[in-house]
Amino acid sequence: MKRWLAAILLGAAPMLAVGCAVQGRPFEPAYSLPDNAVIYVYRPYHFGSSLLRPPVTCGAETAEIGPGGYHAFVVPAGQVICRVEVETADELEIHAQPRAYYVKEEFGWGVLRGHPHLNPMDADMAQTEIQQCCVREP
């Protein structure tokens, strides 16, 4: 009986954990100086999303983005490298003009921990997706 109870609790724990989408304000465009670019890195929430919150760095700024969250990196125009690392690393090079860029952070399978991906997205698709999926983390 105790074994059954332990098994149920063990199974229920991840179910509770995966419900942890971040809370925050809905998407709103970031303001920046005319010579700056804005890179929105967003992470849609999926059932069973990884709970990892690895730091994402774009230019000189770093942010931890949880499932269902986004962060707006305001960077000077020019070459910008965005990077995230867990078990493996992904890097994205953006030749930034003074406009908005969208990057979707997703996790794939890894040997011990998830592999993060920084997927560059088309603005049309990303604008809709980020407004539906993600909130600004406090």
């Binding site: 999926h46 069973g48 070459q79 490298i81 493996t88 690393a89 992904d90 890097e91 994205l92 090079e93 030749h95 997703e106 794939g108 399978w109 890894g110 040997v111 592999h115 991906h117 920084l118 997927n119 560059p120 997205m121």
Partner: protein
Amino acid sequence: MRCTFALLAILAAAVSALGCSARQVSFVPPVQEVSAQPLPFKGRLVDGDPGELPAAVAMSLSDNSRVTFSYREELTHDERHVPLIVSAFNPATYAGSPLGDFGVTAFASLSIFDGDAVLGHYTAEAQVSKSYSIYSEPTHREVDRAVRAEVRAKIDQQLRADRDRLARAADAPAKPAADLTQ
């Protein structure tokens, strides 16, 4: 006994599967390796990043020439990811089977002007696709760099093939190519 045997068999299968090296299928269109040569004249870059040019153009830059270069590159990403729920229950995942691929297409265009006259206009397209697995994966930056190198090599090839015509076109105003620099 039977249970132990089954466990040992599963363990052995898993160990042998792990021994398989991760496959990294990559598709890189063949481009003939050629050493880039400078153009028969120098030119000013009016549109483009001086650090991100085809080698022939980069070797022919000058701040004070009436010939101008305009170079643009655009990347389009096309990615494929096997859904997590599918790959989780696929034994091939743990043997290193590809879980998706990062595909990038690059379009490049180079225009060369002498005043208002167009000396040449070149376009090229290149595609690179690299797959990833549970054990290894390229970064987006590596794939982007590979496709940029590919498309620049194609522009260099076109410039090399058109070199004689370009030299004649630059000489057309009855001035030697070297005099194009003001």
